[in-house]
């Protein structure tokens, strides 16, 4: 196999990591656009939430196409889109805030905090990293930037993206013929 094809395979293998950064930012921007210094209406929040979820689902399908080395048109079918929507698409921050708005509560109670696994991971990593950075004398704002851009997506988005890619194959949603080398023809 030539060096260039190894590079392409490496890039395709790493593409879920890069795409996890992007889909996290789509959620972050959607949340910021809605809730920055204002209280949006519930219908407006639902609309933005759905659009964000749909774009993220599309990015999930795109990640699948990169990993498979095929065009998105070839991997896109209804089942794959549905799976991508529910596994990758549903945005964490915007969904939490939308439910906050609908229930009209200011904070979630402790039992709910314990039930939501992503919240536990987020709180744990945030607290842990905060203390590390503080110990090295780095201000919280400086720490927050690489954390939200590079670290948190690996905890919150990458596992969902990988689950989607594995599930699509396991459930046979995108049956693509493979050559002996593992690459599609």
């Amino acid at each position: 196999m030539s060096r260039s094809s190894y590079s392409v395979r490496l890039l395709r293998t790493l593409s879920p990591i890069l795409i996890s950064f992007i889909i996290y930012q789509i959620d972050f921007w959607g949340f910021g656009m809605l809730f920055f210094e204002r209280t949006p209406s519930i219908s407006e929040t639902i609309l933005v939430w759905f659009i964000v979820a749909l774009i993220r689902a599309g990015m999930g399908v795109f990640a699948l196409s990169l990993v498979r080395g095929q065009s998105w048109k070839k991997v896109l079918n209804k089942n794959a889109l549905m799976l991508s929507y529910f596994v990758v698409g549903l945005p964490m921050i915007t969904t939490h805030m939308l439910i906050h708005r609908i229930l009209d509560v200011s904070v979630y109670p402790d039992p709910l905090d314990r039930i939501l696994p992503l919240h536990i991971i987020e709180g744990f990593t945030r607290g842990l990293a905060y203390k590390w950075f503080e110990a090295y004398g780095i201000p919280y704002d400086v720490y927050l930037l690489p954390y939200t851009f590079l670290i948190e997506p690996l905890f919150t988005e990458l596992p969902r993206l990988l689950l989607f890619i594995i599930f699509v194959r396991a459930l046979g949603f995108s049956r693509v013929a493979m050559t002996d080398s593992g690459l599609p023809p």
Partner: protein, 189 residues
């Protein structure tokens, strides 16, 4: 394939039913409010006033009586007020002290008591003060608030799943009609 469609419809109906019952239960439980009276002790320390500032004590209204101890670096005005609770709260000052020290004094009389601390007119320096206040506070709370919000959260999430599923099915169907004129196949290309 037909069995799969029936299964899908059943799953959606069960989810919708669960979501509806859950949301109804949330509204029922969240509506219940109870009131209790608790003796509360609060200490405010090292507060710094800007010129002209007035400070209520965290918006607290005590029921019946309060016991107050205060130390300030310069003289401050302490207003003991009657809180009239009717369509919101109005305050009527009953007694004013100008002092830099109050040693465990009890104020009693009106049904609801509020206390406000303010700077005197000729102050032009920051003032550091510390106050301990003890008294019964009437607190309204929701005894089933936690479980109600938890049920409500998952009910709405279930509605989102059902709603999204229906919208996606519709979008896929019409996107197929627009692009091919006869609907898209579920099978991969």
């Amino acid at each position: 394939m037909r069995n799969l469609s029936v299964l899908k419809v059943i799953v959606l109906l069960v989810l919708a039913l669960f979501a509806s019952i859950g949301y109804w239960k949330f509204t029922e439980l969240y509506r219940i409010e109870e009131t209790e009276i608790r003796v509360q002790e609060k200490t405010y320390t090292d507060e710094v006033f800007a010129k002209g500032a007035i400070s209520g004590l965290g918006g607290l209204v005590y029921k019946g009586w309060v016991s107050i101890s205060l130390y300030a670096s310069r003289e401050v005005r302490v207003d003991f007020q009657e809180a009239i609770i009717h369509n919101g709260a109005r305050y009527h000052t009953l007694e004013t002290l100008i002092t830099d020290r109050i040693a465990n004094t009890t104020f009693d009389g009106p049904e609801y008591v509020a206390i406000e601390v303010g700077m005197l007119e000729d102050y032009d320096e920051v003032t550091v003060w510390s106050m301990k206040i003890v008294g019964p506070v009437e607190r309204t709370y929701r005894p089933y608030g936690d479980i109600a919000v938890t049920i409500g959260y998952f009910s709405i999430l279930a509605w989102f799943i059902v709603g999204s599923w229906i919208v996606l099915e519709t979008v896929w169907k019409y996107a197929g009609i627009w692009s091919h004129g006869k609907g898209r196949s579920d099978e991969p290309v």
